[in-house]
Subunit: 230 residues, 4 copies
């Protein structure tokens, strides 16, 4: 049952719309936790209430940035992905599962950052670890099952590598929260900056890999010349 | 008043977008029930609260999987459906009605799985029964009213049959909850796995039906030959 | 500054997507009011709680049907509307305002249908009156400002007339709630059935108007003949 | 790695869909704060409850209008923007951040307009200031990085200027709330009317700027003539 090119494009776009919907709702639901604080302390005045709940605002900012970066990276990946199959819907579904879950660790941060900072950061860190696993899953599946156009394969290979390295990074940041909460949050901020522009990151990685390969080539040539001379 | 082909494509796509929106929101609203548990027990610590509410996490997982499978199957069906009419909007509207309702039985599972497991599973099972009726409705209406391209009709016939069988299955699973809650939940898990890849399921069904037909043909030929001989 | 045809199509589609988003969210938020009832009475068992809150389920059904019919009619209208201007965005914005407001009278129905049935139905009826004014506004604006393709103008004129009649109907139904709540709700159910398939309703209206015009023509001809004879 | 024109169009459209989703959800979540008032005072009757919470209805109206105007202006800007780059996603992301935040100052208005009117209006005003900064950011970035078609550049330059002036206006309105709450709210109403039709506003600005330039030209010509005579 051959499907035409145009219907495949349509297929991809529907996955993107559904994903966009989930991203957009998850990112907007975060504000409900903020509104909640208005209903908690009815005695104190507005400014005191807001200052007293500064972690809620910090958590809103962190949660928003997490989901926005997630969307931007999803967006860039789907610039290259031209086909989908049913199993890929499940790989993408796992990412959406983690994204819809994200308001929960964000609410945990807002409520428990002062009382139980270590556990609260661990919750958030575990969520971030799942995100990086899901992102790596999408890129690896798309690469291995040739859902990416052939002319983009070499570039996309570097692109998916940055998510593999992100897994190691988030594992490290996750365990670091048991040593220091704030250093751990700092590590996530660095991750935010790195993955804010995934194309730049990929370009940098490509440069490093190319220069490494060139060095190895040079080494090999030098070595070959040496052995030829010898 | 003849509508051109291009405006019909647009018509289909708007139904898909509205449906995608409803799916995306229903699936994301599930997290609100999770966040709720953070506000319930303020005395206990975070980990104890989470462990104490393990059914909320199980319910979140089940609710998410239910709606995601629903979306994947909707997605595959609309790969074949090329036209819509106003009555079809109502058939699709019934599915959306059940999908928007889904967070309710999910919340019921989260709150009552320990206290009243039978009734809670019955609620969820009834919802699942409605989903399979709605899914069968969409496929049967699209098949009978020729909303599917002619070249896909034979395949789509097998596709809609899997939803008819799903009705019998969900009726069975629904009544089984009065015997054992956990076996009933197990039956839904099997259903999840079967409908995770509806195209595979359809292919398998087609094979069985083809081999049956072939057997019947062989029987008939053998019988004809026998009667010819006689 | 001439805009090309293709960018105008894009313009229309974005209004549709934004509207679809608002419809989809408003229709899905209704379930939150249902979930609420699980948190209200913690002592009673699940079935008693649900039976005790039967108005919440009725309100959910009425609210869902209201918004779905609204979407279907919006959908049919935008099959004909090919252009938008900034003022039209405001006319459409007024409809979206009433749609986003709809969960409020629905919640009022759920909470107050038993206690203060007259006022609760009046709230819902007023909302329905606003919906019909907004629907008439969209169709009239699109007709008067030639946002509809020229070949569809005659048909669209009949289409917009059904919404003008709907205003008279909803005004009548609104005031009827002060006489009897249930008859008023019955009137809304009839409205649901009539506007479930707006194209059928338009066709019927066209038939009536055509036969009327024909009768008048016949009368005129007969009259002319009489006067000629005389 | 050259991307074709068609894939760039797709890229723009995905940014619009995601933004539309965020706008649609933020605008629809406002109703949750309205529904809240039904759960607050259980003793009083429905009409008294609603009259008692008139600020909630006013806040709903103001919040809805704020986000709708924001969407309309976003919509008009994206009629001209034909390309996106990753950094632009962040500029747009900042606008979405402020939009998702908007239900919070709206809820603040609803809860504190009577008790602490100055601080409540200051919250809302600060949010509006952020919106105008974000809107200016989008237009300036798109203009400076040539994301706008070349033939639209001159018009778009005037278009982005109205958002720069809006920043001055909102700074002024923000500080005015410390003198009088109601005059400050009045200033926002004027802003609503001005930005309700951004294209009209741009045309008017263009006229003023052209007539100014012409006057200066005339002055210069007169001056030149004078000096020539002298």
């Amino acid at each position: 049952m051959a499907r035409t090119k145009s219907s495949q494009t349509k297929e991809t776009s529907r996955v993107e719309f559904f994903s966009d919907g989930v991203f957009a709702i998850a990112i907007t639901l975060l504000v409900l936790e903020l509104i909640q604080i208005l209903h908690s302390d009815k005695e104190t005045d507005l400014l005191t209430t807001c200052l007293h709940h500064w972690q809620s605002f910090l958590a809103f900012f962190i949660g928003f940035t997490t989901i926005l970066i997630c969307w931007i990276n999803h967006h860039v990946a789907f610039e290259f992905i031209h086909k989908v199959d049913t199993r890929f819907l499940w790989v993408n579904g796992f990412l959406l599962f983690v994204v819809t879950l994200t308001p929960f660790p964000t609410a945990v941060l807002a409520e428990y950052l002062q009382k139980e900072s270590t556990i609260a950061t661990a919750f958030f860190g575990f969520n971030y670890l799942l995100i990086s696993i899901a992102a790596n899953g999408i890129c690896s599946y798309a690469y291995n099952h040739h859902l990416v156009a052939e002319e983009d394969r070499i570039y996309f290979n570097s692109y998916r590598l940055i998510y593999r390295y992100a897994i190691y990074y988030t594992v490290f940041a996750f365990f670091f929260c048991f040593i220091s909460t704030w250093v751990s949050i700092g590590l996530y901020m660095i991750l935010f900056i790195l993955f804010a522009t995934p194309k730049n990151l990929t370009s940098r990685l490509e440069k490093i890999r190319t220069s490494k390969r060139n060095k190895q080539k040079i080494k090999k040539i030098v070595h070959d010349e040496d052995s030829t001379k010898a």
